[in-house]
């Protein structure tokens, strides 16, 4: 069913009798050309683009729980393409461009809102690094803007300019950055994929892979065996757990990242702000809640919950940069499992097992990558060659010494 202004009015006047389920709830077929494991944002986007761009009709997405219940439903909703390295920037810029056309593309309002993202600068060395980054962004066809202290003061008068421990010396802005209604992304892709004939199978857990002499023939699931021409893993924080069933060890650790939302407040923040001298970033949702976060808890975890020290650390950062939020109340906090890779950058690649593909290692940056991750993964699956914007996301980059390390932290995932 297509959503339109007319449809909305008609339904409003006729008691909303005509709305139908956003997606079907089918039983799995014996086999598909493509079986995508994971009904999160990336998996659903992959199915959507496989069916829409690459014309594939025999596609299933299998999800252990309910679609959109993973990181796409528990993140801070930020989109941006302010990356430094050649391996990353073209990919994230491609993603941002897809975001910009997404709502019309899948006929669902995901409330994409490009109110901008501002990375604050607190030292000369940081300015040097941000100038290099801003230039890299522009040279890759993205937008970037360097602001001095006065410009920041004019745009964000409520920041701490009085008694800051680390004074604000400027900022690097990407005006096209912003936020998206995260749940709607999963639902929009699901609805779009479903209408292209993709089977979305919920409450179906993968229990193993059927691999015969080096080739993956399908997956064993809680709903029985499902055969597949190609099996595409796309399970973010569960990557280690899942790929172990195929006997693989990954350059990935699972870590918990907490996120926070305040009670609804009248609008105060124009866009996204990141504090360059503390672990804090924040935006304000269309409902009025301050949505903010900071560092990983720092230890391996699959528990989807964190602990107090990081909660306090994040709020200290918030109070340091924005002392006006002291009397606002934290409403909810939650934890997502991040698939932290060894260089902070993702992997979209074949595995050494024929017919088994892998997409993961998104660290805490997976949400903004959703459209491009789906698009480029679909490209790899359909054409068996990497999409031009994702050629660097290979497994073997660590053997070859071609890491994509934006932060320069080396092989310690919790520092990326």
């Amino acid at each position: 069913m297509r959503y339109s202004g007319l449809k909305v009015i008609k339904e409003a006047l006729t008691g909303h009798k005509g709305w139908t389920p956003a997606w079907r709830d089918p039983e799995p077929k014996p086999s598909y050309d493509f079986v995508i494991i994971g009904g999160g944002g990336h998996g659903l986007a992959t199915a959507y683009y496989l069916s829409k761009i690459y014309g594939e009709r025999s596609v299933a997405v299998i999800e252990k729980g309910w679609i959109g219940g993973g990181n796409v439903g528990r993140n801070t909703t930020i989109i941006r393409s302010n990356y430094l390295l050649d391996g990353n920037e073209p990919f994230y810029e491609f993603s941002l461009k897809l975001w910009e056309g997404l709502e019309q593309d899948f006929n669902y309002n995901a409330m994409i809102s490009q109110r901008g993202i501002m990375n604050l600068i607190h030292s000369d060395a940081q300015r040097d690094a941000f100038i290099r980054r801003g230039n890299a962004m522009i040279l890759n066809g993205a937008d970037a803007e360097l602001l001095d202290e006065d410009q920041i003061r004019a745009e964000y008068p409520f920041l701490n300019f009085n008694d800051a421990r680390f004074p604000i010396k400027g900022g690097l802005a990407q005006r096209r950055g912003g936020t998206v209604r995260h749940d709607a992304v999963a639902w929009g892709y699901a609805r779009g994929a479903d209408s292209n004939g993709v089977d979305i199978i919920q409450n179906c857990e993968v229990t193993g892979f059927r691999i015969e002499n080096g080739t993956c023939l399908g997956v064993e699931t809680s709903k029985g065996f499902i055969g597949a021409g190609k099996v595409a893993a796309c399970v973010a924080g569960s990557s280690g757990r899942l790929m172990a069933k195929a006997g693989m060890r990954l350059p990935i650790e699972s870590h918990v990242l907490q996120a926070f939302v305040s009670e609804g407040l009248k609008p105060v923040l124009p866009g996204v702000i990141t504090f360059g001298a503390g672990h804090f970033y924040v935006s304000q949702s269309d409902k009025g809640g301050l949505v903010f976060g900071g560092d990983l808890d720092g230890y391996n975890s699959y528990a989807q919950r964190g602990n107090l020290p990081v909660v306090e650390d994040v709020c200290e950062g918030g109070m340091a940069i924005m002392p006006m939020i002291g009397r606002a109340r934290l409403l909810r906090m939650w934890g997502g499992i991040m698939d932290m890779s060894m260089d902070g950058s993702p992997i979209i690649d074949r595995t050494h097992i024929d017919g088994l593909y892998f997409n993961g290692g998104w660290c805490y940056g997976g949400f903004k990558a959703t459209p491009a991750s789906g698009y480029t993964y679909a490209h790899l699956l359909a054409k068996d060659e990497p999409h031009p914007t994702a050629t660097a996301y290979r497994f073997d980059r660590f053997e070859k010494g071609r890491m994509i390390d934006e932060k320069g932290m080396g092989n310690q995932p919790n520092l990326h």
Binding site: Y3, V8, I9, A12, L13, W19, D25, W66, E103, N107, Y108, N109, M111, S123, A125, D128, A129, I131, R132, R133, N135, A136, L139, E145, A164, R165, F166, S262, E263, L265, K266, P267, V268, K287, A303, R305, N307, L308, E312, C315, E316, G318, M319, A320, M324, I325, G326, R327, A328, L330, L331, R332, M333, R397, K400, G401, K407, G408, G410, N411
Partner: protein, 987 residues
């Protein structure tokens, strides 16, 4: 203005009538008493309308009498203490309290945004997702700004929070959460047994539900028993009573977060006292005695001011001697609703009727009981006037009443049992979820929180839980006679919503109605997670405490499943919303991070130095002299003075590690890629440290003070990280090496004395028995010396500036005296203090790598030190540094960069492009890491990394920096701009 009297104030209650508090709500004056909340005082003053809902801006009054309140939220206090979304139901009244209603325009009684209510047919669940898409550009330009303008509830002051917050840490054997009957008896039992007990309650009065009831305990008033109990608890030194303290979360390993509201019941906190304290409570055992929350029943227009939960209505009457109206009715599906009627009647409030969904309820001489009936609708614009009933026989009837108490049953407060992902289980008798499955380790649950709703049951389970905890603590248990108390059952017959109800509210704040849940089901959003996210049910500030169950029950019915089959939403911290300020505590403003001062800080301040943050250090950036109007003037002067005569700079911030032991040299051979075994005693060597992945981690010097003693320096930024790494290598990789490490960064003040006259100057400081002539103390020498007549010190002949230079170290307490001494002794050479800027200029002139070059992605090869990586020995990082990607023919190499036109300036962060050809990422040749104006060369110079840089000296290129609108033609030169042969530093 006329001052309303306390028209709806009843007799009795736990308020202090001897004192009168004046307060202001929406500009109007009222009076209340100590013990009141803002809500109880307003009700007593016959004010029911206290707020507006989020989406439809429907008029609202209090639904509850506690922290779960979704409706009666106000902006409390004014000015920079304005506090949005404050529950009137928990805000303690104080004299002069000032509050405004929120989320309405222009006034609470007339809210223009209430127009949304007229369009409610459009604004259904999921409405936004289906519309506002045409034309594409309109979402951000037109639609979203309108939506955002309407967003939110209360507003921030936009000014810094003036209050301070503390953090505290408490350790105990047993934490009891909630001081109702179960919590009090548990505390008594454990306290008597000698356990270290903390009893915390969010209320400002201990007693929990007993404060709101008229029950007898031991045939006397419950308050008497509470008073006796508290007296005994106060007499026990091992028991800590914490009221106004909300336990917000159950974290790993028995750590609980709790917020104590120290000053919120005062107009302003006392001087130097915190507004609130965040306590981190470490406990071995805990008992959750958090009680239960009543739930409503969904019927058409069940959200009018005056319609509240029956238990809340009873609490207002019994505890606060306030009634929402003089004539009230009750709508219930269980026996508890009848208690409210009885208590209100006893308080002299007129009971229009008790409407019970259950058939054949006992009649009553005092007021009418209507069995098998339902309230199906309500009337009244800004407050309830009539309730419409559907009677057992299907006929209808209208009840005139100003308030309606609704009781749909009670939900145990299981929240903290879920904070470690435990899921509650369904209890048929209560028609509610009770704690089940896996509780946080060490936690047990008692009283209503565990589904035991009677007072007797609370006493019984409280004592039982306490004894279980005592057993776990190996303390003596005791079983005393329990106080006598009521033990009535609830007798509930589940009834969630009246047939055909549509605009019947489930989530009152977010305006989620039965209709929305039906639509959510119709569109396939049927799991509890999808329901929540699609309709926003339970996403309000009460976190679903008053709304989730109703929605769940309706979804279950629509899906033909049982409630537990549809699922439970588990609760997350915090239990109630928590001020961000208290989670930050003292770590804000200048105290956000500790500040580290160098030994010369006092002296430098006296010189008017400009300081800069370097990590947590404050370092002198430059020393402005009279007449200097621009920082460049100061920095140029400092550089020239140093290069031409002598300068001094505080370099204490460099990390220093004392490395001792028979295997000290072997150890350094492991952590540095270059060799140290053969370094002679009395000599210093530059060392490059790699990470195991072959990337440069840090650099510094190692001075061999003795065969088995080195003093190692690290960069300022990496001192902590490098020390950890060294301990890792020592303890985890080579555990049997005889080597001992300790940081001495703070112990020694260290100054760089640089320039042609540095030796002459130091010869006036260093005691004469030490020969520091070029032969006696050549380049890279080091040794223990004495200065100024016998003070122990260390001298290193090392140079970052490229000049003849020394670093001199002595005990920190003498650092201040030494800098003054050096400045005096150096007067004849015009000795000049220089800061980090001049330091940076000189190291760039000399081509020394620093933080901008050691950026975590560069290798020894990139840094032009490829040959330093010894192949003769194993060291951390040597193997992986050989990977092909790190050794390509056109690998980035450090180069020098200068503009062709000396008057032009180059910037760090600029990218290098070939002289001609396209300017884009695909043709990127490298980038500038550091740039500075060199007063010696009288031009702007820079260091950078360039592909195959080693072979491109003399090449003309373009430096582009679009983000700073800069393009400069540059020439690639040697990174050693000054004294490439190093004659000066060996002079």
């Amino acid at each position: 203005m006329t001052q309303p009297t306390q028209k709806n104030r009843l007799q009795g209650g736990l308020i202090d009538r001897s004192e009168k508090f004046k307060f202001i709500f929406d500009g109007k004056d009222y009076f209340g008493h100590p013990g009141d909340t803002l809500a109880s005082a307003l009700l007593a003053n016959n004010v029911r309308l206290m707020g507006r809902s989020f989406k439809y801006h429907r008029p609202r009054g209090p639904l509850t009498s506690g922290s779960e309140e979704p409706n009666a939220m106000v902006e409390l206090r004014g000015g920079n203490r304005q506090e949005p979304n404050t529950r009137a139901t928990t805000a303690e009244l104080y004299d002069g309290l000032f509050a405004n209603s929120q989320n309405r325009f222009p006034s609470l009684a007339f809210d223009a945004m209430a127009i949304n209510d007229r369009f409610s047919n459009f604004l259904t669940a999921g409405f936004y997702y289906k519309t506002f898409m045409w034309p594409a550009s309109f979402w951000e330009k037109i639609y979203e700004p309108i939506i955002r303008k309407a967003a939110g509830l209360g507003s921030l002051s936009m000014k810094a929070d003036p209050d301070v917050y503390d953090k505290g840490f408490l350790h105990c054997d047993l934490l009891i959460i909630g001081a109702g009957p179960s919590g009090l008896i548990a505390a008594l039992t454990a306290g008597r047994a000698g356990a270290r007990v903390i009893l915390a309650d969010e209320d400002f009065r201990f007693g929990g539900r007993l404060n709101a009831e008229t029950f007898a305990v031991n045939d006397g008033p419950a308050q008497d028993w509470i008073a006796e109990t508290l007296d005994e608890l106060r007499s026990l030194p091992n028991v800590r009573l914490m009221k106004r303290t909300t336990v917000i979360g159950a974290f790993d390993h028995g750590i609980y977060g709790a917020v104590e509201r120290v000053s919120d019941h005062l107009k302003t906190p006392a001087p130097d006292k915190p507004r609130q304290v965040l306590w981190r409570i470490y406990t071995k055992q805990s008992i959750l005695c958090a009680g239960a929350t009543e739930r409503s029943i969904a019927f058409e227009n069940n959200d009018r001011p005056g319609i509240m939960l029956a238990g809340a209505m009873r609490a207002y009457a019994n505890r606060w001697a306030a009634t929402p109206a003089q004539r009230i009715a009750i709508f219930t599906n269980n026996d508890d609703g009848h208690r409210t009627a009885a208590d209100m009647h006893a308080q002299g409030v007129e009971i229009a009727a008790v409407v019970d969904t259950r058939p054949n309820q006992p009649v009553n001489l005092d007021y009418e009981v209507i069995s098998g009936a339902q309230v199906i609708n309500s009337k009244g614009r800004l407050g309830l006037t009539f309730a419409e009933l559907k009677l057992a026989d299907g006929s209808s009837r209208t009840l005139e009443c100003g308030a309606l108490g609704v009781s749909g049953g009670w939900n145990p407060n299981v929240h903290l049992t879920c904070h470690q992902r435990g899921r509650p289980t369904w209890n048929e008798d209560l028609a509610a979820f009770v704690p089940g499955g896996t509780l946080p380790p060490g936690m047990s649950v008692a009283g209503a929180a565990n589904g035991t709703l009677s007072t007797h049951g609370a006493f019984e389970t409280g004592q039982k839980a306490a004894n279980a905890a005592l057993r776990a603590l190996d303390l003596k248990t005791s079983r005393r006679k329990l106080p006598e108390a009521e033990d009535a059952p609830l007798n509930i017959t589940p009834f969630w919503y009246v047939d055909g109800a549509s605009r019947a509210w489930l989530d009152q704040q977010n305006d989620v109605t039965v209709k929305d849940v039906k639509l959510s089901h119709q569109e396939g959003f049927r799991s509890v997670e999808h329901l929540k996210r699609y309709t926003t049910l339970g996403m309000a500030t009460d976190q679903g405490k008053t709304s989730n169950m109703g929605g769940l029950a309706i979804m279950a019915e629509l899906a033909g499943k049982s409630i537990p089959e549809v699922g439970t939403t588990i609760f997350r911290p915090p239990y109630t919303p928590t001020a961000i300020g208290v989670l930050a505590g003292r770590m804000r403003g200048k105290e956000f991070h500790p500040t580290r001062l160098t030994p010369s800080h006092k002296w430098a301040s006296e010189q008017g130095a400009v300081f800069v943050e370097v990590g947590n250090w404050m370092r002198a950036q430059w020393f402005p002299q009279p007449g200097e109007t621009h920082w460049r003037q100061s920095v140029d002067r400092e550089v020239l003075a140093t290069r031409n005569s002598v300068g001094v700079c505080d370099v204490t911030t460099l990390g220093k590690v004392d490395v001792q032991g028979a295997d000290a040299a072997t150890f350094l051979n492991k952590i540095y890629c270059n060799g140290f075994a053969k370094l002679a005693v009395g000599k210093t060597r530059y060392g490059l440290m790699l990470r195991e992945d072959g990337i440069a981690m840090d650099d510094g010097t190692a001075a061999r003070m003795a065969e088995d003693h080195f003093v190692v320096t690290t960069t300022t930024a990496n001192a902590v990280k490098v020390y950890q790494h060294m301990e890792f290598v020592r303890q985890c990789l080579f555990p049997d090496l005889d080597v001992q490490l300790i940081s001495t960064t703070e112990a020694w003040a260290q100054y760089a004395v640089a320039g042609p006259n540095s030796r002459k100057l130091l010869q006036k400081i260093v005691d004469p028995e030490f020969d520091i002539s070029n032969d006696g103390f050549p380049f890279m020498a080091c040794g223990n010396i004495t200065v100024c007549g016998g003070l122990r010190a260390r001298l290193f002949r090392i140079s970052f500036s490229g000049e003849l230079a020394y670093e001199i170290a002595l005990p920190t307490r003498y650092g201040d005296a030494l800098i003054r001494k050096i400045m005096d002794a150096g007067a004849e050479f015009d000795v000049t203090a220089y800061g980090t800027e001049a330091l940076g200029v000189m190291r760039i002139e000399k081509g020394h790598a620093a933080g901008n070059e050691l950026n975590g992605t560069t290798t020894a090869l990139n840094l032009g030190m490829g040959r330093m990586v010894s192949k003769a020995k194993d060291s951390i990082g040597s193997v992986l540094s050989e990977r092909e990607g790190l050794n390509e023919a056109d690998a980035l190499m450090q180069v020098g960069i200068q503009p062709l036109d000396p008057t032009q300036k180059i910037t760090a962060g600029g990218h290098l492009m070939n002289a001609d050809g396209p300017v884009d990422a695909a043709h990127d040749q490298g980038y500038v890491t550091s740039a500075a104006y060199s007063p010696i060369l009288e031009r702007s110079i820079g260091l950078g990394f360039l592909k195959d840089g080693g072979n491109r000296k003399g090449e003309k290129m373009r430096l582009v920096s679009p983000v700073t609108n800069l393009t400069v033609e540059v020439e690639i030169v040697s990174a050693h701009f000054v004294d490439p042969e190093g004659e000066r530093l060996r002079a």
